[in-house]
Symmetry: C2
Subunit: 193 residues, 2 copies
């Protein structure tokens, strides 16, 4: 017996960054060995192949994003206030020049989702987790009478997810905070109808 030397999480976060930067195809194994500090053989031993590393990275991404999400919604403020702060955070993320501002899941979905069922499954799991987290927040907001819509939590959560998808794509072409902010505000208002 012998345990792997490397730290799995930090390797996966390095891979996450690399994949988010260049996309799956354009990220070479050489890029990945450089980013993770692992030699090719180690990567293949631990993750099977390049695709396996991507899938593991997306799973880590899900975990990290879910943790971050919950940070925003375990405060003493009201659900809707938290949601505003969450959207502010996303707007600033979109407007930043940090290469990690892109969503690894959306990017991988666009690149591979239609042609690779394995990757699609991991991505769908991520979005299902996200949707579930949002549904919980919406339920809380309804209970607090901050949302009075008669639509299901599922529908409202999907609307918000759609909006954030759109915000992210929009920001690729026009990343100015002063343009993104009003879009986010209008999105939030849409929850109330």
């Amino acid at each position: 017996m012998r345990n792997a030397e490397f730290n799995r999480e930090s390797v996966l976060r390095a891979a996450m960054t690399a994949f988010t930067n260049k996309g799956f195809s354009k990220t070479s194994m050489q890029d990945l060995t450089k980013a993770t500090g692992l030699h090719p053989g180690s990567i293949y031993c631990a993750f099977n192949n390049k695709k396996g590393l991507l899938m593991a990275a997306i799973e880590q991404y899900q975990q990290d994003k879910s943790d971050k999400f919950k940070q925003f919604f375990t405060t003493q403020d009201s659900p809707l206030t938290n949601l505003e702060h969450y959207l502010d955070y996303i707007v600033n993320e979109c407007a930043s020049c940090d290469p990690t501002r892109a969503c690894l899941a959306s990017k991988s979905l666009s690149e591979l989702g239609e042609h690779d069922a394995d990757v699609l499954a991991v991505i769908n799991a991520h979005f299902a987790c996200w949707q579930h987290n949002i549904e919980t927040v919406i339920a809380d907001a309804k209970q607090a009478n901050e949302i009075t819509s008669t639509d299901t939590n599922e529908q409202l959560a999907q609307y918000l997810i759609m909006g954030i998808f759109g915000l992210r794509t929009f920001a690729y072409t026009q990343p100015q905070v002063e343009k993104l902010q009003p879009l986010a505000k209008r999105l939030l208002k849409g929850l109330q109808q």
Copy 2:
């Protein structure tokens, strides 16, 4: 002197489909020669290289989409009715299994936009054209008192574009019409606030 034998538009539409299917990186020159019917040398003679063919294809895409758009808004119905029909069309497109349901511009943006200024310029031109077309429609709708918002046409157009971006991405993961339809309706309602 000698004129090229091939029909430029149909070659570009074939390339469009190929690129939309697999993305830029995964579409090989072999794929492209098969799809277009041109030999490698001819492609390089006419478009410089693979990237040149992509850019020309995106320009053709802009033309085709703009034409299609205008079809929807040269009717005897009111602007807002036309807009509804337009969104219905997009919803059905998103829900279909046609590989061309993806947007070549968004897909290329996600894959190359951050790393290639040439491609980004062509994509930005496409979206600017689209935004301009939508602004015109919104101006018409305001004039017909179908939209009373005090926001600028630009802001409202950007909101709609963001929404359609989001709808498209959302449809990758949940392509059922019955889920997309309500999202589109809510999007339209958002124009009125």
